[in-house]
């Protein structure tokens, strides 16, 4: 660790880096609560990072960049939910296909739109929006209230999701869809429609998480820049037991590991820096192993619902 370590700086960076993890994991959670297991985060995030950057670069508007990324994410979610409901295809197979498609699109789009350049093209990035009065507080102001809009948005979305899931009847129906779609169907509600809506909104959050990387971190899109954050966010959703609150706190932990690895790499240590860079992935596997017994997942996660099938025991085999 270097001498320039300051707790406030660390905490500020941690909140800044938490955004993509938490948004993508909340998106995963939302689809999962309806019983659809999205495994395409990495691909969706890459494609929307690429598209979001391109739109922001061409139009000069960060907001349009994020907007287009949300649209792309929502569409990917829709492909997943339509494929797994109407076509009855395996959710993992669609997810893997979407991952590959996102990977390919993310490098194809910049080539078509910009071509190969010597210097990386730069798009405008998110600026920090200090909240009046609160932002002027000494340490707390720096950490909490002088962040960009999406940090605030992530906190609010997490609270809102918790409220909707556990304090409204819509949330109860959504949770029931992931636990027991037969019961939801028996109530006369449309299981497929609930899945479409949940997975689409989830996809939008994942798209937003992807666009955050070029539009808040670097200002440009580089190949493979998501660096596994999509997969880590799936792990985060499991770690958080598909509960918005626990996902939020877990996201802070994931971000802390990332920032720590970065700090140690810069500061130098006796361990080769490549091993420090493995830390987030190894830590995630360790955490998954330790929490797997305790965290609850929706009973119908990853399983398709087929009305035509009579017996409840044969439901969800696919």
């Amino acid at each position: 660790m270097t001498g320039s370590f300051s707790f406030a700086g660390f905490a500020q960076l941690m909140l800044f880096s938490m955004v993509p993890f938490v948004l993508a994991a909340q998106g995963t959670m939302l689809g999962g609560r309806a019983g659809v297991f999205n495994v395409a985060q990495e691909g969706i995030m890459l494609a929307s990072a690429s598209l979001g950057f391109l739109v922001a670069f061409k139009t000069g508007s960060v907001a349009l960049g994020f907007g287009s990324a949300m649209v792309l994410g929502g569409l990917s979610g829709l492909v997943l939910s339509l494929g797994s409901t109407i076509l009855g295809m395996n959710q993992f197979v669609i997810g893997i296909t979407l991952t590959l498609a996102g990977l390919g699109l993310s490098t194809l789009m910049p080539k078509l739109a910009i071509g190969v350049t010597l210097t990386p093209p730069l798009a405008p990035t998110l600026t920090n929006n200090p909240i009046p009065f609160l932002g002027k507080m000494p340490v707390l102001g720096e950490v909490l209230f002088r962040q960009n809009v999406l940090v605030t948005f992530t906190v609010l979305v997490s609270i809102a999701l918790w409220y909707v899931l556990f304090r409204t009847s819509a949330g109860l129906i959504l949770r029931a869809t992931g636990e027991n779609p037969m019961a939801v169907d028996a109530l006369g509600l449309d299981v497929f429609r609930i899945r479409h809506i949940a997975v689409m909104i989830g996809g939008m959050l994942i798209g937003l998480a992807g666009a955050y990387l070029p539009l808040a971190y670097t200002g440009t899109f580089t190949e493979g820049m998501v660096k596994g954050r999509g997969w880590l966010s799936i792990a985060l959703a499991f770690f958080g037991g598909f509960e918005p609150g626990r996902i939020f706190w877990g996201g802070l932990f994931f971000a802390a590991v990332e920032v720590l690895a970065y700090r140690v790499q810069i500061g130098g240590s006796w361990v080769p820096y490549q091993f420090i860079l493995m830390l987030p992935y190894l830590a995630t596997m360790g955490v998954m192993a330790l929490s797997s017994r305790r965290s609850r997942i929706p009973g119908f996660l990853g399983k398709n619902y087929d009305r035509e099938r009579r017996s409840t025991s044969s439901q969800g085999q696919g």
């Binding site: 295809m89 590959l100 799936i234 998954m288 797997s292 087929d306």
Partner: protein, 356 residues
């Protein structure tokens, strides 16, 4: 079930509802082929190059010259092995997205042997290089398998996370541990000449990897379709609960399927080191994992279809490389084509099932 003697368990389960099955009817394949051709023409037209010439480049580069054909065969090796690394666990209902890391682990192992066991006699050294590659890949598959076996952590996550661990490890080995100081890119020093794979052709150089890939293909087919262990794997994929009732250790079957898959990906890495690069270099994993998964899905997990599909994709890849060199079209064009083939195969199958 009787009319599908060689279908993996995963597919049997999917056949009973909610999954995919590769199209069987020739008509469906014809539709898929025509639709793919149409989309290729559209994409190429949108990009601007001379469409007939571009298509001729993609389709014939592999067959026009001897070099083109050799390039295609060399591509076939890692693509088919990575496809098996994906389909064998898939047969047991497990998703191995970690082929890339397993390939790199195998490559690291093979490089270490090629550098430090060079005093062994050649007939022993080459098999030893490949064996260590297999063991390292298998180890990389063991970690997710064990986490699944012991803690129930979903393998789709851990296999991918192991990829990132391997990527950083390769960077460490190639840039810091045994670096080649004259290379401008993280690369190790070359392995001993005695550890190179025997050549089938000298000019252009063709190592014996394609023969090994075909032998592996036959072995996988025998294992999956004609042995008790392979049947147990398929049974676990088809119905884990019933398998358990009948005394199969389901969790151990998952673990061993991931280890076998990892071993084959590791073999691919060792073959790339001993046959193509003769050293470990960063980025040697290319897009083999993507192509392997595409192959495995298009083949529908059937081991008999993997090699032909892998050959088809290799032809496309080599053609796309030529297209990029001669007509300056982005190489991702062919990726769109491949993705479309996959989607067409998946969707046409569902559509076909509705009719019947």
């Amino acid at each position: 079930m009787p009319d599908r003697p060689c279908e993996s368990g995963f597919l049997l389960r999917q056949a009973s509802g909610g999954g995919f099955l590769p199209a069987k009817r020739p008509l469906t394949w014809l539709v898929v082929g025509l639709a793919t051709f149409g989309i290729t023409v559209l994409v190429l037209a949108a990009l601007g190059p001379d469409v007939p010439r571009a298509i001729a480049t993609i389709a014939t580069t592999s067959f026009r010259t001897r070099n083109g054909f050799v390039q295609t065969l060399l591509k076939l090796v890692p693509v088919s092995l990575m496809a098996f690394a994906f389909t064998i666990p898939l047969g047991a209902g497990k998703y191995n997205i970690g082929g890339e890391g397993q390939l790199l682990a195998g490559a690291i192992g093979a490089t270490a042997v090629g550098l430090f066991a060079a005093s062994l006699p050649r007939p022993l050294l080459v098999p030893f290089v490949l064996l260590v590659g297999v063991v390292m890949g298998s180890l990389w598959g063991f970690v997710p398998g064990w986490l699944l076996h012991r803690f129930g952590v979903h393998e789709i996550l851990t296999t991918v996370l192991m990829n990132f661990v391997a990527l950083h490890l390769v960077n460490y080995v190639a840039a810091d541990l045994w670096p080649d100081p004259f290379a401008g890119h993280p690369t190790t020093i070359p392995i001993a000449r005695e550890a190179f794979l025997p050549l089938l052709l000298v000019r252009p150089p063709l190592h014996c990897g394609p023969v090994i890939a075909i032998l592996v293909g036959v072995a996988v087919w025998i294992y999956c379709c004609h042995t008790v262990a392979g049947f147990e794997l398929a049974a676990c994929g088809a119905n884990p609960r019933a398998s358990k009732v009948f005394g199969i250790d389901v969790r151990r079957a998952s673990l061993s399927s991931l280890m076998i898959g990892g071993g084959l990906a590791g073999l691919a890495g060792a073959l790339e080191v001993a046959g193509v690069h003769h050293r470990l270099l960063e980025g040697m994993q290319s897009n083999f994992q993507t192509l392997g998964i595409l192959t495995g899905l298009i083949a529908g997990g059937d081991p008999r279809r993997v090699l032909p599909v892998a050959f088809f994709l290799s032809v496309l890849e080599v053609g796309a490389g030529a297209l990029q060199r001669t007509m300056r079209a982005p190489i991702e064009v062919v990726f769109l084509v491949e993705a479309f083939v996959l989607v067409a195969v998946l969707v046409s199958d569902r559509a076909g099932r509705w009719r019947s």
